[in-house]
Point group: C2
Chain length 290, copies 2
């Protein structure tokens, strides 16, 4: 997805929020905001929003010497989500259509996103997402793709959301590789965050070699790109994975909440809608990385 | 009120919204947003947000050659408000405390603000504001000040909101001078807008000589400044009047809804709160323009 002009105010908001979380002084906050405006001047019109977000958070890390401003928020979100784990599993076990419920739970967890909002109501979101119709409903396509494949590459999003992913992964009938970020960026899950959420018990955890939000293929490591190219079925969580991979030629199912109006508009849905978007191609077709 | 860094994202949002309303092409929209970011670089740290807003809307007017992008929105808001006029008057007439109700009605009309949001629910806001406790309650001070004075200078805010002001003005026991903008800026009321709302029937309408939001004393005309300096009691409507006059030494009662988090923070109230803030000095004391 390209960057819209509507993303520019959001970049400044996000820079300011990250700077404050990182403990920046008012003077540092001002310097960060002014530099981000400079960088936006030369930001390529066809670049995706996570490319700018990567630059923003790199600047905040450098300016404040704080490499992980969201560390405490990530740990708190993981603990909050783990406290719900037994209840989430119970909901899948007792569901009429367990895959449907497990997918909705994974999407509900996508509300834990400090790039979009300062706070969230996890339990209210869970009830909403369990009941809400899909604005884009690729559930049957996912069901069929799972029946035809033998492994899943799962592109993670945020810490805490990891626990909700775990519930879906426990229900999947195949080995899962769970892909996290190589270093901290916003509240995106790293290897450490995934382990804390228990993902090591249900999947192989790898990182994509990058510290950009989403999956910026140009920034990812060779080992990850090989796995990505071979994967017969990819589940990509969250807005940033949609922003960075919406044009990729790959068998990707996007699972997300459209929390931002720009992404909702790009997907043709309303803000607040839930999305399970099936790929245009299947994993059986030959393909190239785009 | 000084400009906070949190205002910067909002300036970009407002520039984009105004550009689109003015019919700017995507290329023009991009040019406007980039130029606003340039101007923010040299924007004085102690300037008020309406000074930047004035520059933003001047740029949009120049770039798009559209001097009044909010014209249709202003007319629609005035018509919508006029349709409520009889009901609003009835509410004051049947109230236990008519001044309290008339003040609340004037504050309810402050929801009509295209600088802050694209849309509003006028009737729901009216019911909320009629019932909501004041977060800052200067009603008794206003009652006393009205008893001790013989005229009121009323600084208007937005078109449509004018009708709600009219209901309060009809209840005031003194002659009122209603001050509008000298030229269009966002959806602020001009002389034409005030006339359309019937303010000519209940007050003398003058303009402040400026096309900045709020009341930027450095931009106002001499005739207005003389009236302002002599006024024994001033009612100032809306956020921009608070932003520009919060430091002024004058007998100003601020009536507003704290629609923006920054202004709410500056006032020490919560977003969504209603405010009737009494002046620190009375109109009887000698004073200088600040």
């Amino acid at each position: 997805m390209k960057t819209y002009l509507d993303c520019y105010p959001c970049f400044l908001r996000q820079a300011l929020s990250a700077a404050r979380r990182a403990g920046a002084s008012p003077e540092q906050q001002r310097r960060i905001v002014l530099r981000i405006m400079d960088q936006l001047h030369s930001f390529p019109a066809d670049a995706t929003p996570p490319e700018m977000a990567e630059a923003i958070h790199a600047l905040v890390h450098t300016e404040t010497r704080n490499p992980d401003p969201y560390r405490a928020a990530k740990q708190a979100a993981t603990e909050q989500a783990l406290a719900l784990l037994a209840q989430l599993r119970e909901r899948v076990m007792t569901a009429t259509d367990p895959l449907n419920t497990a997918v909705r739970i994974a999407i509900a967890g996508n509300i834990i996103d400090h790039g979009v909002a300062e706070s969230f109501d996890l339990e209210a979101t869970l009830e909403r997402v369990l009941a809400q119709p899909f604005a884009i409903d690729g559930l049957n396509a996912l069901r069929q793709a799972l029946a035809e494949t033998d492994s899943v590459l799962y592109l993670a999003d945020n810490a805490g959301e990891t626990v909700f992913d775990r519930v879906l992964i426990e229900h999947l009938p195949h080995p899962v590789t769970y892909v996290v970020k190589a270093a901290p960026i916003i509240n995106d899950a790293t290897h450490e965050d995934a382990l804390a959420a228990g993902l090591g018990e249900v999947s192989e955890i790898i990182d994509n070699g990058s510290a950009a939000p989403g999956t910026l293929l140009t920034r990812c490591s060779e080992p990850f790109l090989e796995r990505f190219a071979r994967a017969p079925l990819i589940i990509a969580k969250g807005q940033a994975n949609y922003e960075t991979l919406s044009e990729a030629t790959a068998p990707i199912f996007f699972l997300l909440q459209a929390k931002c109006g720009v992404i909702a508009g790009d997907l043709g849905v309303k803000q607040g809608d839930i999305v399970l978007k099936a790929p245009k191609i299947s994993g059986q077709e030959p393909r190239q990385l785009s």
